[in-house]
């Protein structure tokens, strides 16, 4: 990345040598993204990140074709809000937060102008994996003109997108969830997918997303993608084992604790998700931060306060149980020692809060 901040200032849209260098740098990443999802380099639209890619998918399809958008209740707000704002439909999920295929089929049968179905690949709060390829097959069977979008932001690091997203027309991803810099992501738009641009102007990204590309961040996205693709299998095995050790360890040592997710649900190793009875997770987060653990409960609002999780609500988790939810995110750098530390400090912190409750 650094050379593209300092030594190569070229604008990829220009005609000079330095511009061509920049153009080549981002087109190399374009090839890589295409390889990742099993698409064509011309399908790749670079964006500022996942939110922009999701917004472009929903607003872009509705803007091009009109009609109705449908998404699942556990989507990231970057999909959920544009769908709700367009008076779209929210499909319910099962207890693992996966879209309910029967209801989705009923919606497709009952409503004849469904323009877009958006179902995320891996949930950002729970890591649970949706059957996106099945969703795409269902949609193709019911309505050939309906576009399928999947937000793969939280899945990219962990699972093979080409197989899991088979049949999807639009795929969102972002660099900073795979160890790249913030500020670069992409929407992969398979050829022929109707898409009205949200950002208009210079016509970059084949008229689908105007604005000068963030070359250093896109180069960083590419480096992170390369690493993720090369090391995925080993990382998934190692981090998955750490996550299981963390969850089972806490379930064993802390009474009145439940795993928030039904057993057997396929999920990425991203997160250990537990609900501790009788405490407010906001207090637990405070105590854990003092022990060097940065965890979350649900999601943060603009003020920085914790908000009740719409994902747990959609899964049917009781509101009182959800008040004690804790999300411990893992990554490729997570170590055995960090898991030991978490297993050592979380039980007494929960015990202290229960004592004062």
């Amino acid at each position: 990345m650094v050379p593209w901040l300092a030594d190569h200032p070229g604008n990829p849209s220009g005609a000079h040598k330095s511009a061509r260098e920049a153009r080549r740098a981002i087109d190399d990443v374009r090839d890589l993204v295409a390889e990742l999802v099993g698409g064509d380099p011309g399908d790749v639209v670079f964006t500022s990140g996942g939110t922009e890619a999701d917004n472009l998918a929903v607003d872009g399809v509705l803007g091009a074709t009109g009609g109705l958008a449908v998404c699942s209740a556990t989507e990231h707000p970057a999909v959920l809000e544009p769908v709700q704002e367009s008076d779209g439909l929210i499909a319910p999920t099962d207890k693992a937060g996966r879209v309910d295929l029967t209801t989705l089929a009923e919606i497709l049968d009952a409503v004849d102008d469904v323009a877009l179905v958006s179902v995320m690949l891996a949930n950002n709060e729970t890591g649970v994996i949706n059957p996106v390829a099945e969703v795409a097959a269902l949609v193709a069977e019911k309505s050939s003109t309906t576009v399928v979008h999947t937000d793969a932001v939280q899945a990219t690091a962990w699972i093979d997108l080409a197989t899991h997203c088979a049949g999807a027309h639009l795929i969102s991803l972002t660099g900073h969830k795979i160890g790249g810099p913030k500020g670069a992501g992409a929407l992969v738009a398979k050829k022929g997918t109707p898409l009205r641009p949200v950002l208009r102007g210079g016509g970059q990204e084949r008229e689908r997303r105007s604005g000068t590309q963030n070359v250093p961040a896109i180069v960083g996205l590419g480096a992170a993608l390369r690493l993720a693709m090369d090391e995925r299998a080993a990382v998934v095995a190692r981090v998955g084992a750490l996550r299981d050790r963390l969850e089972t360890g806490l379930l064993r040592t802390v009474e009145n604790t439940t795993c928030s997710l039904p057993s057997g649900a396929e999920r990425t190793p991203l997160v250990a998700h537990l609900c501790f009875g009788g405490i407010a997770s906001e207090s637990l987060l405070f105590l854990l931060e003092q022990e060097g653990i940065a965890a979350s409960a649900a999601s943060s609002c603009a003020s920085g306060a914790q908000e009740p999780s719409h994902v747990l609500a959609a899964m049917g988790v009781d509101r009182l149980v959800a008040e004690g939810a804790l999300r411990l995110s893992l990554g490729w750098t997570t170590s055995e020692a960090e898991i030991d530390h978490a297993l050592e400090v979380i039980p007494p912190a929960v015990a202290r809060l229960r004592e004062y409750a």
Binding site: E282, S283, F286, S303, G304, L353, E355, A357
Partner: protein, 342 residues
């Protein structure tokens, strides 16, 4: 040195309170409560106020957290406020927020998180009597005194509470903030109820939540003098909307009855009473009966009275106290307890 959590609203008083606790050598962490999720233009709830608190904490070099207590705020402050209006009472939501949120929920959380003390930017003082009893006392700046809205604190809360700006005038607080380079130095004081916007007002807020009842305005003998848009909006002692109904003399609301949709009006003399019934007592230490100074509004004058059971017997006739409002009892400038007018 103690571990102190400072409740920072994003205003100048709590900004300076945090600075003073830090200067006193304490380990200080700032916290802002997210209380109201809806529309707001003042008080403790807007994101811009959280940003102000956070940036003041950055300037002071202390940690800052946000606690979401909006569900509890709805449950203990907003819903009872709406219900009280629906019953024709005149609630004081700031007082209920202090009672249930800041000095109960937050007080307990501060303790659970391992802090010894809570500090806020209220203008009042915590003093100790010769016998070792803690009392809430009036602020140095009489015009800014908030002891009335803090009257419900008991020994446990008072013993663990610091109110550093209670020793300063508002001007001194602003000067100190300016000297410290705090961005809130010239921020205007918050006004009114934080969950009611100036643009829409109380009536719109209530209308979205309860049906407002059109009613009759009658005199003491029951003769109808006129109509009124909503009886729930009328407070005892109010002149607005009823002052000129039915005659030339100034009229005041002297009774509100929601079930019969009736507001009774009378003259200024009709508004005066010898006794005010009260209930729901709280005490700084222990129950008291006998001579007190009693105050019936946040910035009202303390009046001589005799506290006898569930009655406040005024030395001189007083204006009726709107049911739902607090009557706070002082011994000199120290709070000994309070109650709600019935």
């Amino acid at each position: 040195m103690s571990r102190v959590m400072v409740a920072m609203s994003g205003g100048v008083d709590s900004s300076v309170a945090a600075a003073l606790m830090l200067e006193a050598g304490h380990e200080v962490v700032g916290v802002t409560l997210r209380l109201w999720g809806g529309e707001s233009d003042s008080g403790c709830c807007a994101v811009s106020d959280v940003d102000d608190a956070r940036r003041v904490a950055d300037t002071l070099g202390i940690d800052h957290h946000v606690f979401n207590m909006s569900e509890e705020f709805d449950q203990h402050v907003v819903e009872p406020y709406v219900a009280a209006h629906a019953a024709g009472l005149t609630p004081n939501p700031c007082l209920e927020c202090n009672r249930h949120i800041k000095f109960d929920l937050l007080h307990r959380r501060v303790e659970a998180l391992g802090f010894e003390r809570l500090a806020t930017g209220h203008h009042a003082r915590v003093v100790q009597t010769a016998a070792g009893v803690y009392r809430m006392a009036r602020a140095v700046d009489a015009a800014k005194d908030q002891s009335y809205v803090l009257h419900m604190l008991g020994q446990e809360q008072l013993a663990a509470l610091d109110l550093p700006v209670g020793e300063m005038t508002k001007d001194e607080v602003r000067q100190r903030a300016a000297t410290l380079g705090l961005r809130t130095a010239t921020k205007p004081d918050s006004q009114d109820v934080c969950f009611i916007t100036q643009q829409h007002g109380r009536q719109d807020f209530l209308r979205q939540r309860i049906s407002l009842t059109p009613g009759r305005v009658v005199d003491a003998d029951g003769n109808e003098l006129g109509k009124i848009e909503s009886v729930e909006m009328v407070t005892i002692g109010q002149r607005k909307g009823v002052a000129t109904v039915g005659g030339a003399d100034p009229r005041y609301a002297i009774a509100v009855d929601v079930p019969s949709a009736t507001v009774t009006v009378g003259s200024a003399a009709d508004l005066l009473v010898k006794v005010t019934p009260v209930k729901n007592f709280t005490w700084a230490e222990e129950p008291f009966a006998g001579p007190v100074l009693a105050q019936i509004s946040a910035h009202g004058q303390p009046m001589e009275a005799e506290l006898a059971g569930n009655e406040v017997r005024w030395a001189q006739r007083q204006r009726r106290v709107a049911p739902g409002q607090a009557v706070v009892f002082y011994d000199g400038d120290q709070v000994i307890g309070g109650a709600i007018a019935g």
